[in-house]
């Protein structure tokens, strides 16, 4: 079972690296999806190997997917708004909330 967890860890930190490195806002969103996905794998692994008599892991994953979907929708809406205003979706150029 640890292999699942290690796999999920690798995916998680790949997502973290992408979040910190990428310049395009949409690629950042994609990295967030990676992170959420890795968490799902973790839950399912636990559910299957440690608690096979219960369903909590699966339901939690379902809800995580639902939340991820709605969050992606709102994020895209915000990105579109930012594009309208700044004509760029370079995250380094969207820094108006500074000192």
């Amino acid at each position: 079972m640890q292999y699942f967890l290690i796999l999920a860890t690798v995916m998680f930190f790949a997502g973290v690296y992408g979040f910190l490195t990428r310049r395009n806002l949409i690629t950042i969103l994609m990295s967030v999806e990676l992170i959420l996905n890795s968490v799902n794998i973790n839950f399912m692994a636990f559910n299957r190997y440690l608690y096979p008599h219960k369903l909590e892991g699966m339901f939690f994953s379902i809800f995580v997917i639902a939340v991820a979907a709605s969050e992606a929708a709102v994020a895209i809406a915000i990105i579109i708004n930012i594009y309208r205003r700044f004509t760029t979706i370079n995250v380094e150029d969207v820094d108006e909330m500074k000192f």
Binding site: Y17, L34, N37, M44, M58, R84
Partner: protein
């Protein structure tokens, strides 16, 4: 080697490779496609773990919904083949370092911990059970999160519409009203 293991290794390799490619690729559309492959491989993993419903949900929602959404927004906001996407090397190094250290830390923790398996019998997961527990008000029913998620989805829908709406035409409507 059991077929399980082979499948696992295959899926795991795909996931790892494609996720790293997603975050390091130069062109956006390719990154989106790599993400799609990652998601499909994940659902393959779920199939392997015998959670068919979840795998189906994953394919439908993630691969079919979110990735499509992402691709549409890419098409709306940027030039597909032109994006160069290279940040300064300092940012790269520091983030890689942070990610690497975090990964190593987590892996060490995982390997150190001894997970004790339970001896209870496995529960067969089928649609009937999922449907019932999703709507049951019993001790292990999930009706409350279900309702909350439906409200959340509604809110997300409304929010997305409001945020992405074009703001300018509203002013001309008002001035039209005043003239009448």
């Amino acid at each position: 080697m059991a077929s399980n293991q082979i499948m696992f290794i295959l899926f795991a390799a795909m996931i790892v490779v494609f996720s790293i490619l997603t975050v390091t690729s130069g062109k956006i559309l390719r990154a989106a496609v790599y993400l799609l492959f990652v998601l499909v491989s994940t659902s393959g993993l779920y199939f392997m773990l015998n959670y068919q419903f979840l795998a189906a949900v994953q394919l439908t929602l993630y691969a079919g919904g979110i990735v499509v959404l992402i691709i549409f927004s890419i098409l709306l906001t940027s030039h597909i083949s032109q994006n160069f996407e290279s940040s300064g090397w300092k940012k790269n190094i520091f983030s890689a370092l942070a990610a690497l250290i975090g990964a190593i830390l987590s892996i060490i923790t995982i390997l150190d911990y001894s997970f004790s398996a339970t001896t209870e019998a496995a529960q067969e997961v089928n649609m009937k059970l999922i449907g019932k527990s999703l709507l049951s008000v019993d001790h292990d029913g999930y009706v409350l999160p279900f309702e909350v998620i439906s409200v959340l989805l509604l809110a997300a829908m409304v929010a997305a519409i409001v945020v992405a709406k074009k703001g300018a035409p509203r002013k001309t409507e008002l001035s039209n009203l005043n003239q009448k």
